[in-house]
């Protein structure tokens, strides 16, 4: 036991002797957390509130009549869309070109006879251009559909009222039609706020209960913490290669120390450093970036511990099979970056295609991020993340067995 602790302490002392290690262990992750947090927050540093997002909509209003103005007023009243008006007789063509060439994400073209045809009771179609490469038009289109639906309700209700009047009292005069129309509009406007049929949405968990991913620092803090535990852990494989190069590992095996002790110590110090790094990053996440890590410290420790164990096993394995420092360094970088990308540490797996999500769970990062998501975003506890913890421990066991078999002093 003394030899295990001595080798563990020695390696941590070697790490501490390298001043740059602290920058890589803590400085870089904090910087990355900040950058990714901002990038996924949509600005301002806080998480995105979907209700506060405003999208731009280019509009070519070719109709000289009053009903197009009313339509545009209704759109502006939503506070969800900023209108970018195009002027001139070629505004329609210009709107099409701008969207087609990707300069604008979407455009609404109101035809020249919009008011006239609506007034005469004819059917009218608005033209909505959208660029398929952009996602904004989806939200714009939803807002537009909602307004058009309401206008349709008003128009159909007015038509229905006029029709009912005709059946009861004969053809209405133009003045009656106007009064019926204003009355129905008034009625719909008031009734719209308290419709007879609604869908009641119950929000569960800390964020959306469904597949809506956590964003901002709620995503970047745990993701970057996992990524740097992985990256630094794998980079520690270099130290094993260096120990062979300096022949200190060989010398160690001439001392009365069991092989199992040497291997155990190599797992242990990597694990201790991983837990230290994770702890500091969690505290920094909470204090500096205001991350709410959820209400289950036990769950958090279990996930980081299982992930740290898996990373430690992989690190010793990599250090055992790599022949040179350069080999270990390159492999560590490739493995860490690819596993980060695949496992949803750079972007939420929930926004990726199904096949990508499956591939993300071939590596430990996918499971670790799932567990983090459950703890941090949904407020789950240790029992809910036990499947992920066990899976990570299975990874740890597999890597450790392979590392033990591959471990060599020369």
């Amino acid at each position: 036991m003394r030899s295990v602790l001595s080798i563990t302490w020695l390696n941590m002392r070697l790490l501490a002797a390298d001043r740059s290690a602290f920058f890589w262990l803590l400085g870089m992750p904090v910087a990355f957390t900040f950058v990714f947090g901002i990038a996924f927050s949509g600005g301002g540093g806080g998480d995105v509130d979907p209700d506060e997002i405003r999208y731009a909509l280019t509009v070519a209003d070719l109709d000289p009549g009053p009903l197009s103005d009313e339509l545009l007023e209704r759109i502006e009243e939503t506070d969800e869309i900023d209108l970018l008006m195009l002027e001139g007789p070629d505004a329609g063509e210009e709107a099409r070109r701008l969207v087609d060439e990707g300069e604008r994400s979407s455009a609404l073209v109101i035809p020249p006879d919009f008011s006239a045809r609506l007034a005469s009771g004819e059917r009218v179609a608005l033209l909505f251009h959208r660029n398929p490469d952009r996602t904004n038009p989806q939200a714009t289109r939803r807002t537009l559909d909602r307004i058009v639906a309401r206008l349709n309700v008003e128009a159909l209700a007015a038509e229905g009222a006029t029709e009912a009047y005709s059946l009861l009292w004969g053809d209405p005069t133009p003045g009656t039609v106007r009064r019926l129309s204003v009355g129905v509009e008034q009625f719909v406007r008031e009734s719209w706020e308290t419709p007879p049929l609604t869908v009641s949405v119950e929000r569960l968990g800390r964020s959306e209960p469904s597949d809506v991913p956590a964003m901002g620092f709620q995503h970047s803090s745990p993701a970057i913490a996992l990524m740097y535990v992985l990256l630094n852990g794998l980079m520690f494989s270099i130290m094993l290669v260096e120990e062979r190069r300096f022949r200190t590992l060989n010398r160690l095996f001439t001392a009365p120390v069991r092989r199992a002790s040497v291997i155990t110590a190599n797992f242990l110090w990597r694990f201790v450093v991983a837990m230290f790094q994770a702890s500091v990053l969690v505290v920094i996440g909470a204090l500096v970036f205001g991350v709410d890590w959820g209400g289950s410290p036990g769950g958090l420790v279990a996930v980081f511990a299982a992930f740290g164990a898996a990373v430690s096993g992989l690190s010793v394995l990599l250090g055992s099979v790599a022949r040179t420092t350069r080999q270990a360094q390159s492999a560590a970088l490739v493995l860490a970056l690819s596993m980060s990308a695949l496992g949803g540490l750079w972007w939420p797996l929930e926004i990726t295609p199904r096949a990508y999500q499956i591939a993300g769970h071939v590596v430990p990062t996918g499971w670790a991020m799932d567990a983090m998501h459950a703890l941090v975003s949904r407020g789950h506890g240790l029992p809910e993340v036990l499947p992920e913890v066990w899976t990570l421990l299975a990874f740890a066991a597999a890597f450790s067995v392979a590392a033990t078999l591959a471990f060599r002093s020369e």
Binding site: R13, R247, T254, A255, P256
Partner: protein, 317 residues
């Protein structure tokens, strides 16, 4: 009952795939002895030490250290030996004291004795004033001395020194050889491998000569040279030498061989120094003008040359 040697190697074989690195090697090292393994690179010296250090198991044969079989009681054997590898096997970013403390703990030195022992061993290797300095600030010679200190801290019964002077300057080399002699004077048994025959001759009480994995001779320097009937060589550089000069000496019953090559005559005789006046007188009377005379004792180079048909120095290059 005879005391068991500190090191006992009997019919040792070590193969790596199809390559035989150690081929049926046998030797013994007695307590308090400096035993040298001499041979060119690739002779099997380091592999032999690796087996004795429990780094690699033997393919067959027996290897015992302090009575313990290196395969059956590896931990026991390892606790009795100190190993100084050929390379400086230390942690460059740690101080000399930190390095020694680590190796002391690995060899089970009690914590309460550690500091005192480190101070003592640093005094022995004359590095007490640099105890707190990082190893990577040390000169090559200083690193070598700490490397040796790390093998001594736990007070082993036997010290394995694997070519400890390779690639170092003459001053440091001399310091290390004197340190080894001093340790041996205090009773330490040493197994010393080298391919420098001067070191083996200077340091070792007995020498085993290895080549191509085999132990080709074992004994003291005198035993080795006598075993091949090695002779002293008188070399005379002179003007006016001709081929007949060699013939005069060949006829003498005390002279084994004589030859003249490019103004230099070489005369091989079992006690060449006694013949020196006769040789000088004979050459002078023949009209030769003598520039220099030297007498070379038989050495391990002659033994190696005799046994293998090749020079140890040639293998060095």
């Amino acid at each position: 009952m005879a005391r068991e040697p500190v090191i006992l190697v009997r019919d040792l074989v070590k193969r790596f795939d199809s390559m035989t690195a150690v081929d049926h090697v046998s030797f013994e090292v007695e307590r308090g002895e400096i035993f040298g393994l001499l041979g060119p690179n690739g002779a099997g010296k380091t592999t032999t030490i690796s087996v004795l250090s429990c780094l690699t198991p033997p393919t067959s044969g027996e290897a015992r250290v302090c009575g313990m079989d290196v395969t059956k009681d590896s931990l026991g054997a390892r606790s009795r030996i100190g190993v100084v590898p050929q390379e400086v096997a230390l942690y460059p970013s740690l101080s000399a004291r930190e390095n020694l403390a680590f190796w002391g703990r690995m060899y089970g030195v009690p914590e309460r004795e550690l500091r005192e022992r480190i101070d003592g061993i640093l005094e022995t290797v004359q590095l007490a004033s640099r105890a707190s300095d990082r190893i990577d600030t040390f000169s090559g010679g200083m690193k070598r001395r700490v490397n040796i200190a790390a093998g001594l801290l736990h007070r082993p019964d036997v010290l394995f020194l694997d070519e400890p002077t390779v690639g170092i300057d003459p001053q440091t080399r001399r310091n290390i050889l004197e340190l080894v002699l001093s340790l041996n004077a205090d009773g330490l048994t040493v197994l010393y491998t080298t391919h420098y025959l001067e070191e083996a001759e200077f340091l070792c009480q007995r020498i085993g000569i290895m080549d191509e994995g085999r132990m080709i001779a074992v004994g003291t320097r005198r035993e080795l040279t006598e075993s091949i009937g090695a002779t002293q060589v008188i070399r005379v550089v002179a003007d006016g030498l001709d081929a007949d000069a060699a013939t005069w000496f060949k006829d003498s019953p005390d002279i084994d061989e004589a030859s003249v090559i490019e103004g230099k005559i070489s005369i091989h005789a079992r006690v060449g120094a006694n013949l020196l006046p006769t040789v000088v007188s004979r050459l002078s009377s023949s009209g030769a003008s003598i520039h220099s005379v030297e007498v070379d004792d038989p050495n391990l180079e002659s033994v190696f040359l005799h046994l293998t048909g090749k020079s140890l120095r040639e293998n060095d290059q």
